[in-house]
Symmetry: C2
Subunit: 512 residues, 2 copies
């Protein structure tokens, strides 16, 4: 039993904390967190009075999906899954948690964001941080050397809310990957074709896809005089170029990362370059870059990639961009990122409306990203056997929020059910007849509803149809029963017509 | 850094533990657990040699879903979701974890099976244990007083493997609930109609649905002289009647729970009763039971329920069974459970093949269960406002395993992709032509594949079709290109026919 006065004291102190934060104009998240603690204390106090007061909230950084959000989510998933299936992908599923050590050493500094489970005896477990590491574990464990699979599931990151402007801690990832030893750039090109198809079908406005290659970046760093051990950290700095101007990136390289100004300037010249297969051609002739075998391999592959993209008819949207770096460590070859160009569709400064991107390096409007990671599966194989992989992750949470905004903007009603007809009655004491009729409809596969009241008012039945977007009402009354008909009402036009019972199902099918 | 000799010592000790368990013929699960610990130790030793050895496994009690399992899972979900939608249900989603206190006090003794997250600073969180409590939290939090919703998601239970014969710790629940103040038994009857539709469509063999009412049970306990404070525990004992004979249940009541033999015998007489609306009628006249107001209310509602079930045309499968008790505490009215009668479809003694049931009280062949819980939402509302609810949970994991067994037994190939046509070449150097053609097909919405090799052998392309169940192959060769045709091959019959390029898409659509 807790001491009531102790809790009351704690409430007083916590109240002070909240007031102080408000005076100091602390971040909304910080204040919310302390307010939540205050409410919890108050709830505990309530518990002493016999009825426990719950803090009615979801865990920080998570949310419920309402039926309206689910309807949009389902629509987006259908488009994406259809595309994956059109390309012959299978799907798999893995548990939401993995052995802790499966995730260890895969995410670098971000490992601190992993959710661990409490040690309740038995194995040490962590919630999955992405779908790529579980996929690599899956391949190694089941000794699968080639597969084309998609996986749509939630992942978990204890992200710092102050940094993340509305990122969720629980969010969907939507991954497509091709594992297997294939000829260069063919699977890579298919991944880009898929991004192109999905973004076109989702109709999110204009977009383009940046491509680069980790080997080109590494070669560029080498010829610009970046020490080997600084490749990854300089790469992270380059990755910021889509958010901050070159001058700031250069400052970070020189002042924070200790790079010489000359090396930084050389990198600066390269990372400003954008083009197509012609740029790859030109860089292959570049007297400095061509000294790097790695860079040349990357550049040749970019050329090959573009030749396949031409056949796939997607070069109109693809740009070879030397500033693209991407955050994750495990990429070994081609990398890419799709960006929406229509300003204003996804205001990243607005909190809580934007989901997190599927991967670390999120630029404004970035909605898909991925690349080649040939070493990850080998980290799980006892003999280190490698399985080459290339994949793409669709930034589904951002897409959800864009679609939700579009739905609000269009003022078009989002239907959350697919009900075709409501079985209603105009008079009292017709519950039995309503239940009989709705049974006929259900048994015929018609999506139908009936009010769970004995004597609902006709008006409230019609109102329900208006609200839910149900297009038809089948109205029963004494007269209709006598005549063996049903009055079929079109909700939109209020037009009514008597249909014989025998023709009703056909008529509903015809009209919906 | 770990001391190598220390680990070697630990390995020796752990090796002894494993050997001892094997000698003692301990349970497989116990041995597996200790072997896992041994492997982990060995892996740590390996780590010192420069390459860390992972224990390649999923967490205890969890599993990966292969593409084949996913294909079956998708088929089952489609049938179930279609039924929910036919009845006008919306869907929602909630986070995988909740505030720990949201789950506190909802599951009685089973609370020890809840997975807690590690306290990494911030809120105390637990993985959801079912979908019902999060649903009640959702309703209270968003102040929703009526909704018809389904929710399909995974839940988590640290179940004792020794007790559970193959139950998973991560498994799907598939819930349909109707919340709202409606006229008696109408939503309850719709839940049963839904169970009937789903089990019929899934074609799992014959089944029946037992119904009872908590108020009848409580009234029965009262008139049989069970003390008030023993209602719940005697109810749990009754719940075992579908697994053990009455004699054993009686023994537990008398010897363990301290009930008088006379009271037990009176209960025994009631719980052997099964029937329909006639039994409810008869019990309303029963001189003893009719003394309980509660029992009478329950019996009248059973009669009303049967009258609605008659209109829904499902009484053929529904049995009023006084022995049905169900495990969960929160039921307040009608309860029901669907049971498969075809013996052998789901051997519960076989480990690892059977998933857990959605709810506690699992009888042999039980595949769905639910009931009315009018008090749960009120536990979350600050003012204790109640929202009456009734729902059903489909035992989807058991259904998966039956479907998987049926798939194996039928020897029919389960397709894991929907690819309609493979674009192949008979000669070398036709990669470009293949990519061009597959692009045409994709852009036309045809599900198509192409091998990611420059010069794959025709045989291996055809083999892939056989293995994946792809029905058609579009074969390109020099001659076909010259003639402006494609050779369309039917994989099953090996029949081949030349189709002009212009007609190809139409022809594929016609044939698939």
């Amino acid at each position: 039993m807790e001491d009531k006065t102790q809790i009351q004291e704690a409430i007083k102190i916590q109240g002070e904390v909240v007031r102080k934060l408000k005076v100091e104009k602390a971040s909304k998240e910080q204040i919310d967190e302390e307010v939540a603690k205050l409410l919890e204390l108050k709830a505990r106090l309530g518990g002493d009075d016999g009825k426990h007061q719950f803090v009615l909230k979801t865990a920080k950084g998570t949310r419920d999906y309402s039926p309206k959000q689910m309807a949009i989510r389902e629509k987006v998933f259908n488009i994406i899954i259809n595309c994956f299936k059109r390309h012959g992908a299978e799907t798999i599923d893995t548990p939401v948690f993995e052995l802790k050590e499966t995730l260890t050493g895969k995410y670098g500094e971000d490992s601190k964001l992993i959710y661990d489970l409490k040690d309740q005896g038995g194995e040490l477990l962590s919630l999955r941080y992405d779908l790529t590491v579980p996929f690599a574990r899956y391949l190694a464990m089941h000794k699968i050397t080639n597969i084309k699979r998609y996986h749509i599931a939630k992942v978990y990151r204890r992200d710092n809310p102050a940094m993340t402007r509305g990122r969720y801690r629980e969010f969907y990832q939507c991954d497509f990957d091709i594992a297997g030893q294939y000829d260069a750039m063919i699977p890579d090109a298919e991944c880009l074709k898929i991004v192109h198809e999905i973004l076109s079908e989702l109709d999110l406005g204009d977009f383009y896809i940046k491509v680069n290659d980790r080997r080109i970046l590494d070669g560029m760093f080498a010829v610009c005089g970046v020490p080997d051990d600084k490749f990854r950290t300089i790469c992270s700095t380059v990755d910021k170029l889509d958010k901050v101007p070159w001058e700031d990136v250069k400052k970070e390289m020189v002042n924070e990362k200790g790079l010489s100004e000359e090396a930084a300037d050389q990198i600066g010249a390269y990372v400003s370059m954008q083009g197509g297969t012609d740029l790859a051609e030109r860089l292959l002739q570049d007297h400095k870059l061509s000294q790097s075998k790695q860079a040349c391999a990357g550049l040749s592959d970019i050329k090959l990639l573009f030749s396949y993209l031409q056949l796939f008819q997607v070069t109109d949207k693809v740009v070879f961009d030397l500033s693209l770096a991407r955050g994750l460590d495990y990429y070994t070859g081609v990398i890419y990122e799709a960006v929406l160009t229509q300003a204003g569709v996804a205001p990243v400064t607005s909190e809580a409306q934007n989901g997190p991107m599927a991967e670390e390096s999120v630029s404004v409007g970035s909605v898909a990203g991925g690349g080649r990671y040939d070493g990850l599966v080998g980290m799980f194989d006892p003999k280190g056997r490698k399985v080459p992989c290339v994949g793409v992750s669709i930034g589904i949470e951002r897409i959800f929020s864009i679609m939700e905004q579009k739905a609000v903007a269009s003022a078009q009603k989002v239907r959350t059910t697919e009900v075709q007809v409501m079985v209603a009655s105009a008079q009292k004491n017709l519950l039995e007849e309503r239940l009989k009729l709705v049974t006929e409809l259900w048994n015929a596969g018609i999506k139908a509803e009936v009010m769970h009241k004995k004597n609902p008012k006709l008006l409230s039945q019609l109102q329900h149809c208006e609200e839910s977007g149900i297009p038809l009402v089948a109205i029963l009354g004494e007269q209709e029963l006598k005549d063996g008909v049903v009055k079929l009402r079109v909700v939109a036009t209020r037009e009514e017509v008597d249909i014989s019972r025998a023709d009703l199902i056909g008529e509903i099918r015809r009209r919906t």
